[in-house]
């Protein structure tokens, strides 16, 4: 059975999958709205968690949290299953498809053959929606691709049971119950409240606005502390996590700005339009940091591209974000 499913491309898999599933069930919310209601924006500098032996910096909330918060706030009942046996996992998937139910799946992106080789990396939290089975292939609405894609049952099974960190264990999820009418006003306010608390009142100094300032202080010391080469590796890690292929951290700020623009309309409050513009400017400032960092990593830094300059830009980003979150917290 082929489910009549409208595929929309999106910037990120979790927000795109959530938005596409909601739209399928008649809840017209954009990717940006999901990102906002799910309180997707965040900052954390976690030097004790290493990725490729380098400290982890994150610009968004934990993977999976956006889907969880959004569905909870919109009162969607979700049925989630994990499996030990790959065969049983595929049978369960087929059974849902036979019933005409689109199925969200978590997979290891590395094993999905439709990803171009340059973008195939070991990320076990890739979300997409299976919408049909055609002989031995599945039709998948993968939100980071422009059109639905085909994937063999063999490769899909490998991807659903990828090994390693955050292994998906065949995870699949479907919407069991969706309210007939969804009012976005309270979920929007709740999403903003969760975000502003996480960014302003986080007790851990490595997280939120304080975390941005902490990173600024650390980053300025890296060349003295670790030497030039190691400092560049640390810097490269931050900028790659922020701006891989030109977006990332700033990109998340831009998505949140789009959410605030939509919130202005839903809440009928023009202040949110101005907040949206401020968030876009903050995203641009993060991008300035990334450019200076990238110049250093590529060995083409000029006089104005020092570690002190990068630290100053980060402090400015923290200051601007702090003011904006305070205004947002006072407006809901």
């Amino acid at each position: 059975m082929e489910i009549p499913f409208t595929h929309r491309q999106s910037a990120h898999c979790e927000t795109g999958t959530t938005s596409n599933l909601l739209n399928h069930y008649g809840v017209p919310v954009s990717e940006a709205m999901v990102f906002g209601i799910g309180a997707g924006l965040f900052f954390g500098y976690l030097p004790f968690i290493k990725l490729n032996n380098l400290p982890l910096t994150t610009f968004r909330s934990a993977t999976g949290a956006i889907f969880k918060r959004t569905t909870r706030e919109l009162a969607i009942k979700v049925e989630t299953q994990r499996f030990r046996d790959p065969e049983k996992a595929m049978v369960a998937l087929d059974s849902k498809l036979d019933q005409g139910i689109p199925v969200g799946i978590q997979t290891g992106a590395y094993w999905l053959p439709y990803f171009p080789p340059a973008f195939r990396f070991h990320f076990n939290m890739h979300n997409s929606i299976v919408i049909a089975k055609r002989d031995d292939e599945y039709l998948i609405s993968d939100p980071v691709f422009p059109e639905p894609v085909l994937c063999s049952a063999h490769h899909l099974k490998l991807a659903r049971f990828a090994k390693g960190t955050l292994a998906p264990k065949g995870k699949m999820y479907v919407f069991r119950e969706v309210p007939q009418h969804v009012d976005l006003m309270q979920p929007i306010k709740k999403g903003i409240k969760v975000l502003t608390n996480a960014m302003l009142k986080n007790p851990v100094p490595l997280l939120g606005v304080r975390g941005i300032r902490y990173l600024a202080g650390q980053l300025e010391k890296w060349p003295r502390k670790f030497g030039k080469d190691q400092a560049l590796l640390y810097l490269g890690q931050v900028v790659r996590m922020q701006e891989e292929i030109g977006t990332g951290g700033a990109g998340f700020r831009f998505i949140f700005a789009a959410f605030l623009q939509e919130a202005a309309s839903t809440l009928e409050d023009n202040r949110f339009q101005a907040y949206s513009e401020r968030m876009t400017q903050i995203g641009d400032h993060w991008r300035e940091f990334a450019v200076v960092a990238a110049r250093n990593c590529k060995g083409r830094a000029g006089e104005n591209d020092s570690y002190a300059v990068m630290a100053r830009i980060l402090i400015e980003c923290a200051d601007q974000e702090e003011l904006l979150y305070q205004d947002l917290a006072n407006s809901i």
């Binding site: 340059a118 701006e243 891989e244 292929i245 030109g246 977006t247 990109g251 990238a294 590529k298």
Partner: protein, 85 residues
């Protein structure tokens, strides 16, 4: 290659400080970023390209997927700039 594609190619060479000559058979349809890039451009260079395009043409490339598509080739970049100017 049209005039905007040439202009963008020169911008890429300038901001990414590419010193090797552009291959004689370079085509605007070829991959711009990544291991298959004939110009040897990587994701860190992409940051500089996105930033410079915004500054020079007042065009913001603002989501991960958009940037992947826009920076797929010199032609897609030129098309994007043209359609947003």
């Amino acid at each position: 290659m049209d005039s905007l594609e040439k202009e963008l190619l020169n911008m890429v060479i300038e901001v990414c400080k590419i010193t090797d000559p552009v291959p004689a058979d370079f085509s605007p349809d070829q991959t711009l970023i990544g291991p298959e890039s004939p110009l040897g451009i990587d994701s860190l260079d992409a940051v500089e390209i996105v930033f410079t395009v915004q500054k020079r043409y007042d065009v913001r490339i603002d989501s991960e997927e958009t940037s992947r598509q826009v920076l797929a080739s010199l032609k897609t970049l030129a098309d994007f700039v043209r359609s947003h100017m």
